[in-house]
């Protein structure tokens, strides 16, 4: 059996084992489902209440995708600016670091104050959570061109634009796609965060109200949905990544075959 296949089987077995252990322990120790429901109960809740949950899932997904898309645009623009210009880098970086280290939970009330409870604060929180990794990755990718290569091309009369199009951008693609994976997950976290604090729709809101009604299985069903969506987003962007920047990984594939 090849190593990657074996690795995948082990990973699947570990996940399955985790849930089985959970189920068995809950049964053996007779844990009340008001504290920790069993996975089978959670799944049952998930399916029986899907009709109610579904609009909320869609809401959360949409909000995430819009925030994410805006975050990508903002991130790429800022990243390209500070990656190509030394001055922009030196001037803007401290501000960016400062902004990114504010816990985003603290921003949500401000957004609600300005825009009212609803989808807009959630979109903006998602944006604020996800643009920073993109900025950092784009900027690093653009800045990491070898000086010799730059000399070779400049001595051919290459303009800044030539360098950007032929070297800078293609070299940045692996960094960019790697950051998309992370940014998508971050945007998701941002959305749920905002929904939890102030919204009347979305998975975050469902979990909040379920928790105040002591509907514990529903809270956990929300958690399951969040985990599933998070993984799904990550997988989608990993697939896109391998499709577009396979060259960055080919070296290791080649060595192992």
């Amino acid at each position: 059996m090849s190593y990657p296949l074996r690795r995948r089987l082990w990973a699947a077995a570990l996940i399955l084992g985790f849930f089985v252990l959970w189920e068995v322990l809950c049964l053996a120790l007779q844990v009340s489902d008001l504290i920790l429901p069993r996975p089978s109960q959670i799944l049952a809740t998930l399916f029986s209440r899907m009709d109610v949950l579904w609009p909320h899932i869609l809401q959360t997904l949409w909000t995430t995708m819009i925030g994410f898309a805006l975050g990508v645009i903002v991130g790429v623009v800022i990243g390209a600016l500070i990656g190509t210009s030394r001055i922009a880098y030196d001037t803007a970086y401290p501000l960016l670091i400062g902004f990114s280290s504010i816990p985003k939970v603290a921003v949500v009330p401000v957004l609600v104050l300005w825009f009212g409870a609803g989808p807009l604060p959630a979109v903006l929180t998602a944006l604020a959570m996800c643009f920073f990794p993109i900025v950092v990755n784009i900027a690093t990718g653009l800045a990491s061109t070898e000086p010799e290569l730059e000399d070779v091309l400049k001595s051919l009369g290459a303009s800044k634009m030539d360098l950007l199009l032929n070297v800078g951008l293609p070299r940045t693609m692996p960094f960019f796609f790697a950051s998309l994976k992370i940014a998508a997950t971050f945007a998701f976290v941002g959305t749920v965060l905002a929904e939890t604090v102030a919204s009347n729709k979305g998975i975050g809101n469902v979990m909040m109200s379920a928790s105040s009604n002591f509907d514990v299985p529903l809270v956990f069903a929300g958690l399951f949905i969040l985990a599933f969506l998070g993984v799904a987003l990550y997988v989608v962007f990993s697939l896109i990544e391998t499709r577009f920047v396979g060259w960055a990984n080919r070296k290791s594939d080649f060595a192992s075959t």
Binding site: E148, L149, D151, S155, L156, G157, P170, A248, R250
Partner: protein
Amino acid sequence: MDIAESSIRPRDAVELSRASVAFGRGEAKVHALQPTDLRLAEGEFLALVGPSGCGKSTILKLASGLLRPSSGNVIVGGREVAARALRVGMAFQNPTLLPWLTIERNVMLPLKIVRPFRNEYRLKRKTEFRDRVHALLDDVGLSKFTNHYPWQLSGGMLQRANLCRALIHEPSLLLLDEPFGALDQFTREELWGTMQALWMKRRPTVMLVTHDLKEAGFLATRICVMSARPGRIIDDRPVEFPRPRTVEMTFMPDFVALNQRLRERIIDARSTQIAEVG
């Protein structure tokens, strides 16, 4: 009148007159190159040798137009270098091929950038330019690897491709900064042969920086030795061994004697620097 003059003396491909370079200013000022005169005729193959840090790479940067002299001037192909419409090719120790392009596309890259080729790039990249790249790759023995990616090639093969990239736009001046420095002895000697064949076939003007005196003697028509920093040229001699030269020739008494003389000059140059520092 031009015709009469140029029949007496071939046109200079490179001309440094009293060109000097200093980096930084004030306390931190570093004199990298003393005012230097250097003329290179078209088709010459010059090797620059000298102690580390003496300004060899700096001279290449002057000739490429990447660096302006602090004083004096640099004329390449009859034009002041600052004019920046040069056709130079450069290759360094690090091949810096782009990992996302095939060897063919890597070698073709200059045609996408240099005028006048870039205007025709879209039109000809699949026909004329492609044939041209293949012919060149064939000359260096890489015709089977045109569609491979850089990571599929060995260090020596990458360096061959790198030479092709530096030559594809038929530069009037080829600048090589220790291009074979990272290779093992056998691969290096193999590449000397390749380089010599390329030069004999296409006759570009070449400036080669190297630490390997045998390499200088094997390839060059002329060798300049530089003093320690701030560098200047302290020895300038032609190399008149017949071509094509072979590795066996590097063991002949004449060749060994040339190496010996160059070695002494460089050791002299280094010891004066050490005396000044200590």
